[in-house]
Symmetry: C2
Subunit: 801 residues, 2 copies
């Protein structure tokens, strides 16, 4: 049987809770307040109707105040932050909305559907274009850098003084990285990292501030170019997913708030429901462009996002993905001077694993693959654990932008130095004719016609190194080279992830895995007894399996990653081994440590709602989970009351049940609707008061358009001036509230609440008693709080930071 | 604005409705009854609280009476049949269930999860094995047949008397087909056809009687072998999906009701929720085995089934699919004497479209592809329209089993004759060395060293013909041959689909499309002006596009079909063209006629709930949609009342709200739970009466196991004997009802109801007023009734057949 450990209700909240009640029907009476005050700050092991007051999210205005300099982030993964807003995936079906929908003809719906397709096409096109731009820029810049350094090395190899080459390399790297890090650290911290955790959260329904802004996109794109060109152990693939999402959020709204331009198109799409659909398409298009994997992109979006499977939506997402790959291929083919040759896959090209006998696998190899999956899981867990401690260290000590920039530059310089030393001290020479895909063969101290094999992995763009490891013929690499490379690169990559640069972890993971995978592929025939001298294990195949195992061990994605890898290799043959390897890596890895993205999401204290309730949570019911008492409004409410409640910064509620009080007014009142903070703010701004409506009959009726114009940056309540006279006016909420919010009885079990919440993408779920009277409200935080820890079901604390 | 046309409440129903009310609280008072009686039989154009009484489905006992000889099926697609039961995808979270879940430890949940994986592995393995069996049997039998006929033809070619060969061929075909048709028509009519429409319905939540029984599987497998070996224009791929589903339904239950064996394992999975999950996995495994497309299989299942996206479930489905492909490959590789060579794809092998320059496409070819998509859409619509009329004809006149067998034999004979005539009169000879994949080259009247090219398409298994059309080098086919073949095969395939044999439509569609696609590929260089003699259009590529277009035009699948085709070609390059072609084919086709499967589903009057509500249905609310008055029970109810209500054959309700009556008893009563017919039957069978519980204290408490043992074939109410004394006992439903059914207010719009219903896979949705009092019940039929017709929103009639 599960048991809950450590329930601490958030201390500074309970003291303010008596301020919330002023003038509004405080449901469940005041004895609950007393309760919550008693419990504040203490550790309560008993589960009951504990009053964690409903404070859904921070008000939108603070979004902007966060900008520029990031606040110190809480570093306790046992906390749930209250600073994140939720998205509303459930339409508020109020009268305005229904009237609009009813006015719309069948043709209107068709047009809407067509514009959705157009938007998805645009998203795919622009995402592909961005991928193309990044690819070409990186190729040019990195090419220039490697050319300069190679020339320099060749100049100094004979005469000595290679330390000058080292310094040149390190300085070049640091310079590139500095540019990238300055942009991220000073201008847009949210653009740092791969962006996948942020997009995961967004698609899960958490509104991460500033994550889909134009500025974020610009910094992301420029940043990733700098960090890849700067030779860090990073990839340019992860950021594509974020870029695609930003493009989607921008294009679908038909306007740019940052640029203050409104094209007056796609106005219908200005709400969370539609926007999130498009963002899924954008993320899919990003995956598709990054890996040439349109199906993988769709599955990625579905795995992370779609709670409610919608056939047409999926089909549109697929369309965006396809267009994105196609655009990338087309422009890259033009760039590479063979226009129209469209079968070039995404940014990372695994090369085609053709169906020849050496690349096929046999039944007896499957246990080997599973073993490699286990190794990948172990190494991945080690990587994640190291990165976790590093991240905690960074949060504590390196939170000033200039320090972050300096760390990034240091990593860049160290990467160059380590690479140089490895190359310098390696004497693994290989004849030059063996190599096919070698862009910058370094001769160094090798004989003429030979090159340094360590340099093929270190002195190269990581994508190219991966490809070499997959496809170079047997004998291209010395086992010692691979071993040394694996160890060095492992620590470099681990140090790099989490720097204030925008960069992905896919390629470094693949590279590490490919290196040790290939090492295993080389070692296997050596240790097998009946070695006939024939190479029975194609090392390239083992490199692929190792890459999959390592990547799976770090990110712990399952279905989508399998499909991405199948598509990237262009060969469905490896489907089963890849799946088994990823599965093993996930099972082994999960035993020790969570996935890298999940760790970072937890460290940000994001209230992430997983797809299913923890298994042993059947004995919790809505009664225990819900926040109560609930602040609610009457159907016709005094303006002053509304303003006061919205202004109360300690209880930043975002959804308010609308109730009809009974005659005797003391009981919990009957539910008749649900209204959102954002709607109330628009109403207040337009002064939709009963008294004014009576006096000015000509006054324009408030339309859905007014709500859409304000979306998504609703003004804070503080910016709305309400005079003392107006405070005494009344507001009729009937027309604007959602009259049919979803409700559950108090006895509903947590898994059932969870399912309803997830399946419909809810933000607020009203808990009612057997007479439809409001007794509580379930929000995202109430559900995200419960998770399965080492000692059974645990409950996270709530914190305002 | 939409308007509802033709609402006819089902006439024979309303007359019985006063019988339903006896002794139970009939909600909404008796004036509703009067209403409904007035309206019965008439055509009512006004929408209001029309009392289409809630009669969810037929009782289970009739399932068996249907067997052997099929009833005449209603042939009006404007009707919704009431004979289909719904599945319950929503767990009944009653006290027994919650107690069990709460008793279960974390380890218990882990074990359960592991056994789910084991079951999925088994499903994949067995499905692969069945596919392997079918493949080998067909190859052997068809090989034997073609060998005999070829020998015969060669014997008679010189000396004349080829009519004897023709007769031999026709008789052999008819004999094979007769065996298959007799099994289907006399023993298991549900095993006829491809089974995809039935599985679509099952996954949608409609319980098609006998669809997942062992006998169905046996007949299906034997039938498909006979019909393919019998030379009909059919494929063996569609039936694999059905077979996989049956395997899944069988394995997951850990027992066989047909064989009367209970292995006492997997008892937890004996309910609709779990069973449907496994059936999705089975269907996916079937697709995967048929086309070597594990990802396509997953997407097929998701497209057709999953309302609620569940990450772990999808991952399991993928596992089953992978295992299925792997098993098939492994055993086929053993059969073909190269064991361990595992890269052989599914049953249909498209051959690999390698990445050479001729098989790539250029930008200017995309409009051509889209044009071909439009042709495919047109031809598909024509195919569907012809098959629709044919099906109507069959329903009216050919519904006796012996007639069905005779028709099937006739088609087999005609197919052989037509093929023979085509081959005989064709004088398109090709040199023998061009051919690579020719199993049975017929020389006939060609010169030595040449063969008849018409025979490569007609005198061959259809899969082989498709492959030849894709891969034979340019010049293998004469345009006239292809043209003639397309026309002949089109009509043959159209005639064949819907016969009482078990067979799929995928391969014939692909074959028709490949033929005209290759024809276009051959014609294009001829008509292009600057023809340099060089073959710029690889005909094999156009054959592929044509095949996709034709298949898309007939079945109208989208995402999953694209992925299936990508995987079957083993080349992601064609992703974009395939997607565009399928999209165009669907859009063009949908303009004229529905998809083939949808037509057949409609002709069976199945209440199919689509993924979204019709677009212009926002002005309908739950109040108009719901069935009312509702038959409900008190929390403690008299046994006699329950028995009478369940026995009332005219109102076969399946779900009953449980209510708490008010003190003054006349109003609608408050909802406190929901109980199912199947639960009540188990309660009655075990005589769980309040009085008996008091008298016999030692009596064993009813457990969830008792419900599981009865699942899925709950005995009919008639088989339960209740004595006159027992009728006066009381039953306490508290422990067994679902205390937290989902509810909606009356004002909820239809799309919102629809969304909730679909997302959670509901069977009953209770409509309540603002005090939580039951006013109506929404079931599958209430939603499936509304669909978008030519003249806006239309409402289907309900019929008992």
């Amino acid at each position: 049987m599960a048991n809950i450990t450590k329930k601490v209700s958030w201390s500074s909240r309970a003291d303010d809770s008596n301020a919330t009640g002023e003038g509004t029907p405080l449901l469940n009476g005041s004895e609950q307040l007393g309760d919550s005050r008693q419990q504040s700050g203490g550790s309560i092991s008993q589960i009951g109707r504990v009053s964690t007051v409903n404070m859904d999210e921070e008000i939108t205005s603070e979004e902007d105040s966060l900008k520029g300099r990031p606040k110190e982030i809480t570093h306790n993964e046992k906390l749930l932050s209250l600073k994140y807003e939720s998205l509303d995936y459930d339409n508020s079906e109020n009268q305005l909305f229904l009237e609009e929908e009813r006015r719309m003809s069948y043709l209107g719906f068709r047009c809407l559907e067509i514009s959705r397709w157009v938007v998805c096409g645009l998203i795919g096109f622009l995402t592909g274009l961005i991928a193309c731009f990044i690819d070409i820029m990186v190729e040019q810049l990195a090419g220039l850098k490697y050319y300069v350094v190679k020339e320099n090395i060749e100049k100094f190899t004979a005469g000595g003084g290679l330390s000058i080459s080292l310094i040149l390399w390190a300085v070049l790297n640091s310079a590139f990285v500095m540019v990238g890090a300055v942009m991220v650290a000073f201008f847009e911290p949210i653009a740092g990292g791969s962006g996948i955790p942020q997009i995961k959260c967004y698609l899960n329904g958490v509104k991460i501030p500033r994550v889909v802004r134009l500025k974020t996109l610009l910094v992301k794109v420029a940043g990733v170019i700098c960090s890849v060109a700067g030779g860090l152990a990073v990839g340019k693939e992860g950021p594509m997913i974020h870029s695609g999402a930003v493009v989607a959020a921008g294009v679908s709204q038909g306007r740019s708030t940052s640029l203050k331009r409104d094209f007056k198109i796609f106005e219908y799409f200005r709400r969370d429901t539609e926007k999130r659909d498009f963002v899924s398409a954008g993320a899919a298009a990003g995956v598709s462009a990054a890996f040439g994997a349109p199906v993988g992109g769709v599955l990625f979006s579905l795995e992370e996002a779609a709670s409610y499977w919608n056939q047409m939506l999926t089909w549109r997402i697929f369309f965006a993905s396809m267009i994105s790959t196609f655009t990338l291929n087309f422009f890259l083919s033009v760039y590479h001077n063979n226009p129209g040759e469209l079968s070039n896959p995404g940014l990372i090209n695994f090369g085609s694993f053709d169906k020849n006998s050496s690349s096929e696998y046999n039944l007896y190899e499957i246990p080997l693959f599973i073993g490699m999956g286990a190794i990948g899981g172990l190494l991945g867990a080690l990587f994640n654990a190291l990165n976790y401690w590093l991240t905690i260290f960074r949060i504590r000590y390196i939170h000033r932008p200039c320090l972050q920039v300096m760390e990034a530059m240091l990593v860049a310089a160290v990467t160059a130095t380590v690479s140089f030393i490895m190359i310098y001290f390696s004497n693994a020479c290989q004849p030059l004719d063996v190599v096919q895909g070698e862009d910058y063969p370094l001769q160094l101290y090798c004989d003429d016609g030979e090159y340094n094999s360590m340099a093929t992995t270190f002195f190269n763009r990581p994508e190219k190194s991966v490809q070499n490891l997959f496809h170079n013929p047997p004998g291209s690499y010395h086992p010692l080279t691979l071993g040394m490379f694996t160890i060095t690169y492992f620590f470099l990559a681990c140090w790099t992830y989490g720097l204030a640069v925008s960069a992905g972890v896919f390629i470094p993971s693949l590279l590490i895995g490919a290196a040790w995978g290939r090492l295993i592929g080389i070692m296997l025939p050596m240790i097998s007894t009946n070695s006939t001298g024939q190479i029975w294990a194609d090392p390239g195949k083992y490199a692929l399996i190792g890459a999959a195992a390592q990547l799976g061990g770090i990110v712990r994605m399952t279905l989508s990653l399998t499909v991405i890898l199948i598509e990237a290799t262009g060969n469905v043959t490896y489907g089963l081994p890849l799946m088994l390897v990823l599965m093993t890596a996930k099972i082994v890895g999960d035993y020790f440590e969570e996935g890298l993205y999940d760790i970072h999401i937890k460290l940000q204290s994001v209230p992430f709602v997983h797809s299913e309730a923890p298994p042993t949570s059947h004995w919790l019911t809505a009664r225990e989970v819900m926040s109560s008492p609930v602040t609610s409004f009457n159907r016709v409410e005094r303006v002053g009351t509304i303003v006061d409640l919205l202004s109360n910064t300690s209880t930043n509620h975002n959804g308010f049940p609308v109730v009809v009080s009974n005659a005797n007014g003391e009981e919990p009142a009957k539910l008749c609707g649900l209204i959102l903070r954002s709607q109330l703010i628009v109403l207040l701004k337009h002064k939709v008061f009963v008294e004014l409506a009576r006096s000015k009959l000509t006054r324009r009726k408030l339309q859905l358009k007014d709500f859409r114009d304000a979306y998504p940056r609703f003004p804070p309540i503080q910016s709305i001036h309400v005079s003392q006279d107006e405070r005494e006016c009344m507001m009729d909420l009937t027309e604007f509230m959602n009259p049919t919010p979803y409700t559950v009885p108090q006895e509903t079990s947590l898994p059932r609440v969870y399912k309803l919440f997830r399946a419909l993408g809810l933000r607020h779920l009203v808990v009612v008693d057997d007479s439809n009277r409001v007794v509580g409200l379930v929000t995202r935080k109430d559900l995200a709080r419960y998770h399965l820890g080492k000692h059974g079901l645990e409950e996270l604390q709530l914190a305002q930071t």
